[in-house]
């Protein structure tokens, strides 16, 4: 084949008109230049090549996209069972979801759900922790447990010839955890040491403090892994009570995914869980999230080289008629297919590696959060630009083109979200967990495309309040607070990182040393600081943070597990579908 081959019919330029349909209209100006023949082009190393000026080639014929078959049944005891069959690889995974998480923590005992989850595989009434580990490891399986604000999970993956072993193990750890005193002590120590590490990670501190500002003392605002104090106070009785109350079959969903038959899957579920009697699940009452209030809290970490920024507010829960429109509005602000924040902060100014916004919609409530990190001396500029994007979203009608780009990605990427059996199961779990109509899976693309610019404008005006944003900055406060003041962000609170206390109404640990001088002298470098002054000492203290999923795939300590990664990715995109279900291991 000649290197200077002329374009074949497949490579002929498409007309601008069809490019607009593809949703790349904004790029069309240069792409649409005439491209009749190849031109001589100089390569980077000085050679010459005939290279045509042309537009992207036409697509091939579109394949039909169908959501793969799945089944949802309910056992007589109320356990919901989902099966997705897939026979390409000889593996089966099982995901058990319990509809209880940190929301169900008893008052003053934040961390019960999280500690209980970490203890599920650390011994049952018939198997020791080491026996469970040996069992699952030897058969080449994997088992993971964990919890979030609304759920607790146990995930098991095994090869198809160990399906029954895996199912029995899953049922045993879910039904019969021993909560042995020695294991409780061990897991408490792990949790407390992990908090010491994550309390020094600006990314995690920013995320948990932001949620505390948005939700106040609603459980979504509290660190669900607990604090050293609350963890220490948790007793074996607390864990047993949590388990007894909420781990009942009518409060659970089980998904069985992979290389089994439907009969095998349902029979195994029946065998492992069928005779477990249902029980009434006590309701929980929680405090309401506070009304939207403008608040800027700075966590001072003098050795930071970057500032972690979170900006956002309370919005809507997952099950809400405006969810689709609101989610698209947030994607225009900072999601795939659109992302004004990325363009303004990264592409146009090089202020950050990544900027994005997300709808974080859960059972009881939801919020929108925009996040980025930027070097200390550009903190003020980045903050100003982000706040302006919230204002713009609320103020200006989005164009049809910009909405179409976001819709094109969201609807077009649907086939990418059903590639693996785990992906498929996650989507079914989502609708079942949030009590959404199951038809929603099949109508996803139509519902995306039905949103109009008017809808975006309506939800933006209804829910977005740029004057009442919660703002968190974690970094070297002394170096960037003056920038903020020049830009009019004067009403800020500054808290030294070691004095941060999420369980305190003031967010500050009661140090009884509030009058001590900071490194900047008695007045500090700041003008109007509402509360909190930089103080000496407190090297012992560690802020109380939970261990949320890290957004960064890099070196560091994640959930107490050391991750060393030497590869570097270049463009950040999250591939999340909904809330946290898809992020779970396995």
């Amino acid at each position: 084949m000649s290197n200077a081959q002329r374009p074949t019919p497949n490579a002929q330029p498409v007309r601008c008109q069809s490019l607009w349909k593809l949703g790349v209209g904004v790029l069309g100006v240069v792409l649409c230049v005439s491209a009749a023949s190849a031109q001589l082009e100089r390569t980077s190393d000085g050679r010459f090549v005939f290279w045509p000026a042309e537009s992207p080639p036409r697509p091939l014929q579109a394949r039909s996209v169908k959501f793969p078959p799945y089944e949802v049944r309910m056992l007589p005891n109320g356990l919901q069972v989902i099966t997705v069959l897939h026979h390409e690889q000889p593996a089966v995974s099982m995901r058990l979801l319990v509809r209880a998480g940190s929301v169900q923590d008893p008052p003053g005992k934040v961390g019960v759900a999280s500690l209980a989850a970490s203890l599920l595989d650390q011994g049952t009434v018939t198997r020791s922790a080491q026996a469970i580990a040996e069992n699952i490891d030897f058969i080449g399986g994997a088992l993971a447990t964990g919890s979030g604000s609304d759920l607790t999970f146990v995930n098991v993956v095994v090869m198809e010839d160990s399906f029954d072993v895996g199912m029995n193990l899953l049922a045993d750890v879910a039904r019969n955890p021993a909560f042995a005193a020695e294991e409780i002590e061990r897991q408490k120590q792990q949790a407390i040491s992990s908090l010491q590490v994550s309390g020094n990670d600006p990314d995690w501190v920013a995320s948990v403090l932001f949620e505390r500002l948005v939700y106040g003392f609603h459980p979504y605002g509290l660190p669900n892994s607990g604090t050293p104090e609350t963890l220490s106070a948790i007793t074996r009785g607390d864990l047993q009570q949590f388990h007894r109350r909420y781990f009942v079959p009518n409060n659970m969903i089980l998904a069985i995914v992979g290389d089994v038959t439907s009969e095998q899957a349902f029979a195994a579920a029946e065998r492992a869980f069928g005779e477990w009697p249902p029980a009434e699940v006590p309701p929980v009452t929680v405090v309401e999230p506070p009304p939207l209030t403008r608040r800027i809290v700075i966590v001072d970490k003098p050795d930071a080289v970057q500032t972690e920024i979170r900006i956002g507010q309370l919005a809507i829960p997952r099950k809400h008629d405006d969810y689709m429109a609101f989610d698209l509005a947030v994607k225009i602000l900072g999601g795939e297919g659109a992302n004004r924040l990325h363009r303004v902060l990264r592409s146009e100014r090089g202020l950050t590696y990544g900027a994005q916004a997300d709808t974080e919609a859960r059972k009881q409530a939801g919020h929108v959060v925009a996040e980025t990190d930027t070097r200390t001396d550009t903190t003020g500029e980045a903050l100003r630009l982000m706040v302006e994007e919230f204002s713009r979203l609320q103020r200006d009608r989005v164009s049809q083109n910009e909405l179409s780009d976001a819709q094109a990605y969201l609807a077009g990427s649907f086939p990418l979200t059903i590639e693996t059996p785990g992906d498929i199961a996650a989507q079914v779990l989502n609708v079942v967990f949030y009590d959404l109509p199951v038809e929603e899976i099949g109508t996803f693309r139509e519902r995306v495309q039905a949103v109009r610019p008017d809808d975006i404008q309506r939800v933006a005006r209804q829910y977005v309040r740029p004057d009442r944003l919660s703002i968190v900055l974690v970094g070297n406060a002394a170096a960037f607070v003056p920038q903020l003041q020049r830009l009019g962000f004067t009403d800020v609170e500054v808290i030294p990182i070691e004095e941060l206390d999420l369980m305190s109404a003031t967010l500050k640990r009661d140090t009884r040393r509030a009058d001590s001088f900071g490194p900047f002298g008695p007045s500090g470098p700041f003008g109007r600081v509402r509360s909190g002054r930089l103080t000496h000492g407190q090297t012992q203290g560690n802020p109380r943070v939970n261990v949320p999923k890290g957004r960064k795939n890099a070196s560091g300590l994640s959930n107490g597990r050391l991750v060393i990664e030497r590869r570097i990715k270049s463009v950040t995109f999250k591939t999340r579908i909904d809330e946290k279900l898809v992020d779970q291991p396995l």
Partner: protein, 449 residues
Amino acid sequence: MRLCFPVAIALAACAVAAAALTPVLAAVRPPKLQYEITTLPNGLRVVLSEDHSTPIVHVAVWYHVGSKNERPGRTGFAHLFEHMMFKGSKNVEPDAHTSIVSSVGGRSNAYTTEDVTVFWQTLPAQYLPMALWLEADRMATLRVDDIAFRREREVVKEERRMRIENQPYGRLSEIIYDHAFTTHPYKHPTIGSMADLEAASIADVRDFHGAYYVPENATAVIVGDFDGAQALQLATQYFGRVPKAGRRVPGDIPTEPPMKSGRRAVVEEGWPLPAVVVAYHVTYDGHPDSYPLHITSKILSDGQSARISRELIYNRRLCLSAFGSGNITEHPNLFFAVCIVQPGQTPEAAEKALIGEFEKLKTEGVSAHELQRAQNQFARDYILSRETNEDKAMHLAHAAVIHNDITTADGEFDIFMKTTVADVQRVAKTYFNESNRVVLHVLPRETGR
């Protein structure tokens, strides 16, 4: 070595196993990958693997250049250059690659390692021509603009701050490699140093593209829902017109001299808990010894019943987190163990325990039961890491580029299954020696606000 990443599960730990009671269980065998490999006249290799289960396609282009190809004073350049590949080419506007792909519901990204730079996109299947066209356009006609370069350099500096400098233990890998290597470019991290990033110039961008981003140095892997003949025709059409460089791709990389005696160092960082590292120089990916080394990684730290997890985390509560594993790459690299030391425990005790685990491998070896467990875990990793088109492309490309033998993508399975306890002990005795060892204590810096 792609098949060796452990399934990502938080490590808790576990005590002694009742080995004798567990029946021996042969690993489930994963299905073989189906593929075709072709070399175009310009030297570009094309690997095709059809999978019609979902109407999507994954296209990856692997350039055989990574941070080990960087010259002194230009660390971080391979990755910085990777960013520049998104800054436009003759028919594609700056930053448009990503938006063109997302406008059809596709995803695209890139990454750089010590050994390779990989560009990929996953799209609905009918957009295969677009993906090939985009990749060919930037391979042949990258735009090189000074303003865009300077702005992107700032982005990469933020990336370094975010990933490496601003989070606890972010610099650990950098510290380990800086102490363990003297000569080979594995000494420096892929992200590079701030000073070198700052020193990079637009002329470097041109040189790098001309030297390494040529068809002879590239492998395109296409996995998904397509007709093989049509895909080959499209790949030929778009990649085929990229001219060959016609000269040798530079590949002279200094070798690391063997250590004459062990090294140790104590450094301070602003991290909350001490970290202890015990590292040994080992061999390269594909060397016969590399397979027992991978087995050793599993025996030490895959799962809560693995030796380091059980002994150092669970039984002795020495470490909050700990592991020992080989980073086996194209050139000889390291096998290292890390312990994040629990409050109340000492770095000295952690060092002794980690070295003790390596010594035990040499003196006592491993049991047949442990070996079988590791092999079953391998089978699991093989199976679970071949679910997506992207996964499959990664295995095929890794075999083709790093091993220069695509048959290893499946062929290594048997090597692992045939590894013996004697192999594991022999390899431990070969590499885990004091004269070949680097020990580091990274202690929390006294701050004092």
